[in-house]
């Protein structure tokens, strides 16, 4: 989905709020959230792709205003409700107030029917698709050309795994893009490397 989470290349943001040796957590409840979602994954209540997608499905104003661990909490609670572990009513009764959850999911999809094996040096293009469900193709590479540098081991296909759709594992390719191709005349000079799933790629001839 072309969601609010897909931030790469968005303009208008200010300086990174950086401090040396910055902490991962600020409040004790954040560690509890981190542990609880890991527990749910370990127990098989949901997988990491479902977890990521439930964050992406948060109402955009909520997504942007929530802290990182509030987004994590919202995904955990949404999936526990959707999987029938707990009802929203019970959560709101226990929390003594409203408990905002993510919005409903669109359908997922399986691997692309025709997938090619690529080798180092191959020129490829990212397919120009708009996917309603979960996808790990950042919008800034959609339709863009790059060069394959290497192939990864096969991974579960996120577009399917986030939706309980059957699929086969497939590799990602380390594709090197030039920032000048991604944002012509409007980016700092750099190579941007993205791990692109095989289903998102076509050979450039």
């Amino acid at each position: 989905m072309d969601g609010i989470h897909d931030l790469g290349g968005k303009q208008g943001f200010g300086r990174v709020r950086h401090s040396p040796a910055a902490p991962a957590f600020h409040e004790p409840w954040e560690k509890r959230v981190n542990a609880l979602y890991s527990l749910a994954v370990r127990l098989g209540i949901f997988n990491m792709d479902e977890y990521r997608h439930a964050i992406e499905r948060m109402e955009p104003r909520h997504y942007l205003s929530a802290s990182y661990y509030e987004r994590s909490l919202t995904s955990l609670a949404t999936l526990c409700v959707e999987k029938g572990i707990v009802s929203r009513d019970e959560l709101e009764r226990r929390a003594e107030g409203a408990f905002p959850l993510a919005l409903a999911s669109a359908p997922g999809r399986s691997n692309a029917p025709a997938r090619e094996r690529f080798a180092r040096g191959d020129r490829v293009r990212v397919t120009s698709e708009h996917v309603p469900g979960h996808v790990r193709m950042p919008a800034y590479i959609r339709g863009k050309a790059g060069v394959v540098l290497s192939e990864s081991p096969p991974y579960p296909f996120p577009d399917a795994a986030a939706h309980g759709v059957a699929s086969v594992d497939e590799p990602t390719y380390d594709v090197r893009f030039s920032s000048a191709d991604l944002w012509p005349s409007a980016a700092d000079a750099a190579f941007v490397h993205v791990a692109v799933f095989q289903s998102y790629l076509e050979r450039l001839r």
Binding site: G8, S38, A98, M137, Y140, A187
Partner: protein
């Protein structure tokens, strides 16, 4: 008015009360969240820390054969030093900085990192600003963070969009050649392993 309309009109519960609510619900179903939180806190506080990456870097600086194995295939190489990765992190790619190449890692879509190796990602790595800007304005962002790179340095930004994970192998400062592995490990920071600082 539907139930969800009336819920939305109510005050949103403070975030800590919402955490308590889901934890209590899991507890009541016998899933033992309390015990798991204790174990998980041990992992994030004691085990998944940037000192792991620092030790790996120090070994790579002092042991040429290890460095070659690390750059060829990171996962089995870090396992040699006793560092494990979650099963779903099937591939660790170690990115070698040189005098003319600088690598920096990010996750524009969420917050993915090789957290068992470089430590849990710091707050700014997960913030909207870093995620939005570093792929497009890498040199500007690095300069704002205190790292000014000359124009002839090639910048490579790595966006962690799959379960392949990355760690930067920083360039060893020239004046530290001959130091012990333990001394060298002290030099290596999490910012260096992410690539927003040179050492």
């Amino acid at each position: 008015m539907t139930r969800s309309d009336s819920a939305d009109a109510r005050r949103i519960a403070p975030v800590e009360q919402r955490v308590d609510a889901i934890q209590a619900a899991l507890e009541e179903r016998g899933l033992k969240p309390g015990e798991f939180i204790v174990q998980a806190n041990h992992l994030v506080e004691e085990r998944w820390i940037p000192e792991n990456g620092a030790r790996i870097v120090a070994r790579a600086w002092t042991d040429r054969a290890f460095r070659e194995r690390l750059l060829a295939d990171g996962r089995p190489a870090v396992l040699e030093l006793g560092y494990d990765m979650p099963r779903h992190h099937r591939h660790l790619v170690v990115l070698e900085n040189t005098a003319t190449v600088h690598n920096v890692i990010c996750c524009t879509l969420c917050s993915c990192t090789a957290f068992t190796i470089v430590g849990l990602p710091p707050d700014w790595y997960k913030d909207l600003e870093y995620r939005a800007r570093v792929v497009r304005e890498s040199r500007t962002v690095l300069k704002e963070m205190g790292l000014e790179l000359p124009p002839e340095t090639e910048v490579r930004v790595w966006d962690t969009t799959a379960d392949t994970r990355y760690m930067v192998l920083p360039l060893q400062p020239a004046e530290t050649v001959g130091w012990s592995e333990a001394q060298l490990a002290q030099l290596v920071t999490q910012d260096g392993l992410i690539g927003v600082a040179r050492l």
